[in-house]
């Protein structure tokens, strides 16, 4: 009985030590709209087109259509055109229907030239579903300008 009380008292004091340490340690709350944390590199946002390492002005997409064919939810439409005097096709439009995308990453995995990557865009929100039919080419051009 006495032993129980003593052991109990010691454990209670230990517990109080834990909470007072928490009391004096810095808060971990992030005041979300006013401050944000860095997104982890493995975060899966919508896909984005990556610039060609040799020519940062262009994407390295070769319009092979692997992503379009591999997409399990048929969310991708790739349109290319053959410009005069060039050997390869160039990308004209890359439509990603983000409303059906399940972030599986098969497009990123199968791309033979690694032209796709996940973006860190974590908070897309809108009232219209048309907003989420992304044209990744347009988005790429926008990023390039910035």
């Amino acid at each position: 009985m006495v032993k129980d009380v003593i052991i109990g008292a010691i454990s209670l004091i230990k517990g109080m030590g834990v909470t007072i340490k928490a009391f004096f340690s810095p808060v971990v709350t992030v005041q979300y709209p006013r401050e944000t944390i860095n997104i982890t590199p493995r975060f899966r946002g919508h896909t984005k087109l990556v610039a060609d390492p040799e020519d940062p002005e262009k994407t390295s997409c070769i319009v092979c259509g692997m992503c379009e064919r591999n997409c399990p939810s048929n969310s991708i439409k790739v349109e290319g055109e053959k410009k005069e005097g060039e050997k390869k096709k160039t990308l004209k439009r890359y439509i990603l229907n983000f409303t059906t995308c399940s972030h599986c990453g098969l497009c990123v995995e199968t791309c033979p030239v690694d032209a796709l990557a996940f973006s860190a865009d974590y908070n897309p929100a809108d009232f219209k579903k048309e907003t989420f039919y992304y044209d990744l080419m347009l988005e790429f051009e926008k990023r390039k300008k910035r």
Partner: protein, 327 residues
């Protein structure tokens, strides 16, 4: 000013002092409750590494006022089939012991509404009245959770009132007085916590935590089982009165601990009232600290702890103190 002097002349100095004191007490009660709700939420936040209230005013200091305004503006809902007289009476009764207890607490050497020579008896007698209001509230609410909460509260308060009394008695023995002011003055030679009464202090503090229905003894209002216990059916200002009484009870319990064991308003350099509030609020902080550390005890554990450990130890302490003083 002249009018005031005339009024004092008519009603007598003692009555004037009492009236002024009561007004002061009311102010202290309300301000204390406002401060404590804010402190409670801040402490809760930081113990969980959160921030706590911060939006309303600097550091969220205006938050209690916002809450108070909200409660004032709410409808006073009376559920169907309640026992109306009891239901209405409970929030009023809960406030009486709180106000009376404040009268005898010495905030400073001269700052005391009235120094009654049985001061501690007044506090103990009236603080057991708050159980009555809890029982009435639970009974009158026509709600199973309220009733269970109320019955638990009664059992708990009966069990813990005894060690509470027994832990204060040895101090009264040593001070040779029941007046709170005398008890503080005796401690000029040293606080009673360090003068043989450490165990009495521990027992008192545990029992006081139970008396004020705070965690880990918060079975009467165990949220996970009983919604909010006895005040489940109360809304608006009626709920606010229970809330106010709860926080004031915490303050009173801590104030008595300060007076009996920690030398009350005695302390170097700073004025007495500051020392009194520092000590009292430290004890209040400790009670909040308990809340975020200890899980709620089971009901049998609660009663066993009181009857099998606290009461025998308190009795032994009482007999020992009495014997030594007699020698």
């Amino acid at each position: 000013m002249c009018d005031l002097a005339a009024i004092i002349n008519i009603i007598g100095k003692e009555t004037a002092r009492l009236i002024l004191g009561l007004i002061g007490v009311l102010i202290v009660v309300v301000v204390n409750a406002l401060v404590l709700t804010w402190v409670e939420r801040k402490v809760s936040g930081h113990m969980q590494k959160r921030i706590g209230p911060k939006e309303v005013g600097p550091y969220g200091l205006i938050q209690p006022f916002a809450d108070g305004l909200k409660l004032l503006g709410k409808e006073l809902l009376t559920p169907a089939n309640v026992d109306k007289p009891l239901y209405y009476l409970a929030p009023v009764i809960v406030f009486i012991p709180v106000l009376v207890s404040f009268i005898v607490i010495p905030f400073d050497g001269f700052l005391q509404v009235k120094d009654i020579n049985v001061g501690i008896l007044v506090i103990l007698a009236f603080s057991s009245l708050s159980v009555l209001s809890i029982l009435i509230a639970g009974w009158g609410s026509n709600n199973k959770y309220s009733l269970i909460g109320a019955t638990r509260s009664v059992a708990q308060n009966i069990a813990y009132e005894i060690p509470l009394l027994l832990s204060l008695l040895p101090v009264a023995f040593m001070a040779n007085s029941l007046s709170l002011r005398d008890i503080v003055e005796v401690q000029r030679q040293g606080w009673f916590v360090w003068r043989w009464q450490f165990f009495a202090f521990l027992i008192y503090f545990i029992a006081a935590t139970a008396e004020t229905n705070r965690t880990p003894f918060d079975l009467p209002e165990a949220e996970s089982e009983l919604v909010a216990g006895f005040h489940t059916e109360y809304s608006g200002m009626r709920f606010a009165l229970f809330f106010l009484a709860e926080y004031t009870n915490i303050f009173i319990a801590s104030a008595i601990a300060t007076t009996f064991f920690l030398g009350g308003y005695l302390g170097p350099v700073l004025p007495g009232i500051v020392w009194f509030f520092i000590k009292t609020y430290f004890l209040v902080f400790v009670i909040m600290w308990f809340r975020w550390t200890f899980p709620r005890v089971r009901f049998d554990q609660l009663l066993n702890f009181s009857w099998k450990i606290l009461i025998p130890v308190a009795f032994a302490n009482l007999i020992l103190t009495g014997g030594i003083l007699k020698l």
